[in-house]
């Protein structure tokens, strides 16, 4: 029995409706059953649908649900698509989503009212509905529906603690910055339609691949516009500013939306459109550069942050930069592989940080943590595993995916980007282990009551941590590099149908076969860099309690302040955009609308009044004046009629 594709997103939608309409009334147990159960069922449905195709054949499967919009010459249907790419996304979106939902049961239970608890799970379900729609869509418009839908849920969930103005503002900021990207995405969609006459993926990509010379010239602009959308959604510089603020939302939200799923939608979209991008090399170059710049920029900021979630947020931005770097050099498989592994370890890290925050009764500043390793054993161990994975230590997952990316960059002979990627890898290891050291090692730096209160999280929270840590350990074996054998890279084989060959005349696709010795060398270099970063952080923070770092910071106070302050980008935007916007709005209102336009109108009315005021003096009330006027009038009339008639 095959489950219809539409069921997969429909289940969380049903969960949303149940939670929002009946949840407040029927209590937390009902919400748990409906909200988590729906996601669990969706996971089962997705996997049962996917398993027959794991061998890689038989896809793509397209299910056309109904016609949706037809007007004039434009027509688009509601149709879903299961192919290797969407299958890969669905597999971990549902499963990791489910784990995070389970975790949220414990995390949200105590602090929230029934209504708040229901609201949380409702929005989380709605999010999964939108995300699955995005991933399973078979045309650009339906993808855009999911795209905006996840933006909506992000807004609602970041602003979940709406009484805090910071959280509400962060939600609005996320939505608005996303919309700036969506502006680009929309224009990109229009451009696709005017180039190809359709928005269906099959229609667009097969036509583009079949006639590359015809379409290639227009595709640079199209791809740049689409990438603008991806930049907004996936928080690339300069549209990254919403993601750190988004940490105002509950931690499971950060884990699900801002680490594992929503932010990777941009990477998914670029990979989905790889046929178009590969015909627009300049656009790909821009993607790679922005990815690289973002990766290193965010990593630098991360090393100086003191809020545990903010470190992870900037880390996410940085890792997303890696993914776009991969896409930009044509290593799409590496990019998607990193999406997958990143989902595992980043979600694990966020959920782990949530457990720490939960244990410390709300503390998020790492300067007031420390010594938690013996007190939170499961949290510590899973956090450490995920850290090692993120840092790229073999044989954990992150090593293989990051290595694939770096290999890809190296293979297309981009030394600067490679150097940036390598440096960032070192920084990554450094700031992550700094985080681990400050949080879990050394003497406790929090208040005594907090020390007493520290307790390991309940099983609903620790179990997902363990599962995710496990996946971070073994996930890498899906994508072993070729040095381990020709068919070792299973994920590449799986994704191959989505990456058909496209050839611009005169340019063959760069072959990605590096000699094995070079591969081993690259692997060794990346491991060395990662280990180096780890050791440095361990020495500075675990052994010497942060003193070398403090000394360094003190020697360059201005630089340090700039880095801590995230390079003051938000302040720059406030000066460049926000304040002029507000000024313009006020000026247009007060000057143009009130003063000029209304002024003219009211002046006109005033003139009429003035004329009336002047003319009324003719009404003397004196009959004799009126009689005289009669006479004069008659005389004038007679003169006119007879006088001119006679002449």
């Amino acid at each position: 029995m095959t489950v219809a594709l539409g069921i997969i997103p429909a289940l969380p939608l049903a969960g949303f409706l149940l939670c929002i309409l009946l949840g407040p009334r029927l209590g937390k147990s009902f919400v748990t059953a409906a909200g988590v159960g729906s996601v669990g069922l969706a996971t089962v449905a997705a996997w049962t649908r996917l398993i027959p195709y794991l061998a890689g054949t038989g896809m793509p499967v397209v299910e056309r649900i109904a016609p949706w919009i037809s007007a004039g010459s434009f027509s688009v249907d509601l149709s879903l698509r299961l192919d290797p790419l969407s299958g890969l996304m669905v597999s971990f979106v549902t499963f990791v989503g489910f784990l995070i939902h389970v975790y949220s049961i414990g995390y949200m239970r105590h602090d929230e009212t029934d209504a708040g608890y229901a609201r949380f799970f409702a929005y989380m379900n709605l999010f999964l509905f939108a995300m699955l729609t995005l991933v399973l869509a078979n045309n650009f418009l339906l993808m855009f529906v999911g795209w905006e839908g996840v933006g909506l849920c992000s807004y609602l969930l970041i602003g979940y603690y709406y009484e805090k103005d910071f959280a509400a503002a962060a939600g609005k900021k996320a939505f608005v910055v996303n919309r700036i990207g969506d502006f680009g995405f929309l224009l990109g969609i229009f451009a696709v339609f005017s180039l190809f006459g359709t928005l269906d993926f099959d229609g667009v990509f097969t036509r583009a691949a079949a006639e590359p010379t015809r379409f290639a010239p227009g595709l640079t602009v199209v791809c740049l516009l689409l990438f603008l959308g991806a930049m907004g959604k996936s928080a690339q510089v300069p549209l990254h500013v919403w993601l750190p603020d988004a940490m105002a939302g509950p931690t499971p939200v950060s884990a699900l939306i801002h680490a594992a799923t929503m932010v990777t939608a941009g990477v998914y979209m670029v990979t989905r459109c790889n046929v178009l991008f590969r015909l627009a090399p300049q656009a790909m170059f821009v993607v790679a550069v922005i990815g690289g710049v973002t990766a290193v920029f965010a990593a630098i900021i991360a090393i100086a942050q003191t809020d545990i979630k903010r470190v992870l947020a900037y880390s996410t931005v940085s890792q997303l930069g890696y993914m776009f770097l991969a896409c930009g050099v044509g290593a799409y498989v590496a990019g998607m592989f990193h999406v997958l592994t990143h989902a595992f370890f980043k979600a694990c890290l966020f959920l782990g940080s949530g457990a720490v925050i939960h244990a410390l009764g709300g503390e998020q500043d790492v300067r007031r943590m420390g010594g938690l390793a013996p007190r939170l054993p499961v949290t510590y161990r899973t956090f450490l595993v995920a850290t090692l994975a993120l840092s790229g230590i073999p044989p954990l997952a992150g090593f293989f995916s990051k290595d694939a990316i770096l290999t890809g960059v190296f293979a297309v002979h981009r030394p600067i980007l490679f150097a940036i990627g390598l440096f960032t890898a070192g920084l990554t290891a450094f700031y992550m282990f700094r985080l681990v050291s400050l949080t879990f090692y050394g003497e406790p730096r929090m208040t005594p009551e907090q020390v007493n209160h520290v307790h390991e999280a309940p099983p609903t929270m620790t179990l997902p941590l363990v599962v995710l840590a496990f996946l971070s350990m073994v996930g890498g074996f899906l994508g072993l590099p070729e040095v381990f054998g020709e068919r070792a890279n299973r994920i590449a084989a799986f994704l191959a149908p989505v990456l058909p060959p496209v050839f611009l005349p005169g340019r063959a696709e760069a072959g990605h076969a590096l000699p094995p010795s070079t591969e081993w060398l690259l692997m060794g270099v990346s491991v060395a860099v990662a280990v180096g970063g780890l050791l440095l952080a361990w020495k500075w923070y675990a052994k010497e309690g942060g003193r070398p770092a403090a000394k360094l910071a003190a020697s360059f106070p201005a630089v340090y302040a700039l880095v801590v302050d995230k390079f003051r980008i938000d302040e720059l935007y406030a000066v460049l955009f926000v304040r002029p916007f507000e000024w313009l709005a006020r000026m247009l209102w007060k000057v143009v609308d009130v003063l000029l336009i209304d002024g003219v109108l009211n002046a006109g009315a005033f003139l009429v009044e003035l004329t009336g005021d002047a003319l009324r003096f003719l009404q003397t009330g004196n009959v004799r004046n009126y009689a005289l006027t009669f006479l004069l009038g008659v005389v004038a009339l007679v003169l006119i009629v007879f006088g001119f008639g006679g002449m």
Binding site: S70, A71, G149, Y162, S194, R586, W589, D593, D598
Partner: protein, 529 residues
Amino acid sequence: MRALLDARLLTVLVFLPSAAAALLLLFPERRAREAKILALAASVLEFALSIPLWTRFDLASGTFQFVEKANWIPALGITYAVGIDGVSLLLVLLTTLLTPVSLLYSLNHVEKSARAFSISFLVLETGVVGTLVALDLALFYVFWEVMLVPMYFIIGIWGGARRIYAAMKFFLFTMAGSLLMFLAILYLAIRYRSQFGGWSFLLSDLARLTYPTMAVQTVLFLAFAVAFAIKVPVFPLHTWLPDAHTEAPTAGSIILAGVLLKLGVYGYLRFALPLFPDAALRYAPWVGVLGVIGVVYGAFVAYAQKDMKRLVAYSSVSHLGLVVIGVAAFTGVAMTGSVLQMVNHGLSTGALFLLVGVLYERSHTREIAHFGGIAGVVPVTTALFLVATFSSIGLPGLNGFVGEFLILLGTWTSNHRGWAVAAATGVILSAIYMLSLVQRVFWNPLTREENRRLPEIRASELVAAAALVVPMVWIGVRPNDFLDRLRPSIEEIRRSAATRKAAANPSPPSRVTRGISPTQVFTREETVR
């Protein structure tokens, strides 16, 4: 009875509200509640009777359906001719939906002279429906004027602090435009008499007229266009709108924003385009640019507002700017999107005004600064407001997105890509001003104690709001139900404008240096394939 409905459904729909109003005159003043209920029942009946228009609409035909013709003043050639096509169908249904919603809302909020209020509303409904179905220019003009008087009273008697100023402004503005249009109509009738002998005001007859020079056609077109531009409203003739909307009572704002504003675009599509296609196509770029200005300008000024209602009023300027762009772009996709967006705007802005009214009635202020953090106090109101907000800013899944997308896509594929880019910034701007409003009213810490005791939305208001939310979701999820009815009519409008133009001006298209030439009208989209 059945036969009456079958044969004369439109006439019944036009005059039923007036009949109910006449009945209300028999009510004594002290039976205010019964009067309100009767008016509500009449408007609900009207809505029910308008449903057959939808179900029995012929999806294949682009010309007028349910047509009725009768001689009215034969000596002057004025005929009672009514009929609907896809465009007017949707607008009539919008009217018959919004009127009971407004009356249902007013059930608990209008106490003073409630009978007179109900009568005004019903007469207004007659005027609006009549305007939408009239196929004779004189008849159209009569109904157009009939709309003015009750609206003037509604604003002037039951409105806010500056109601007299707002009512006068509304009336004088609209009247000035109407007079221009009236002169043009008279000229058309006289010209028809000299060209064909005999008087006629029928649209189908007057559409056959030719004009001695382009200048003449342009002047006539401008007369019509200005009248409609005031109603839409198009920048810079829009300043009556913020005052009128803000000072009107909630029900008045719902009807004004939901229905009356649409008549400007409707008039343009129904009359200005078929009568003066050359001038319309030539001056379309001007109209489009004004639309773009309206989108951006309206959004900025909306952001600067401190009064909730005024903010929503300026958002209307912004939204209708987009509709105007779609009409000016003149592609099938864009025009279909424009008409759909008119309906969408009526629903979403109607809902916003309704909910703002809910907050206002309870706290007696519309100042945004007075609120803050009330989401926990009035969760249902908050949820409804969020739905209306996201409909307004074009979130996919709700109605606003479909209209916005079609307009922008249609404009992109026309000659005027720049308009599409400029207008697309509207998606950013609308998010900014609406979400800022939501944040300052519903989120943020609750700082004023009196807000803690704000009552939640009542059942009658909830039903009224739900009546607007359901179509929002329906149009968002199944827009084809509506688009199917629009498509043939829009094609008919475009086709008749293009062929008429080609017939009247046999000179080569190179004479048309601005706007769209007739050959381009149809080839522009076909060449995409």
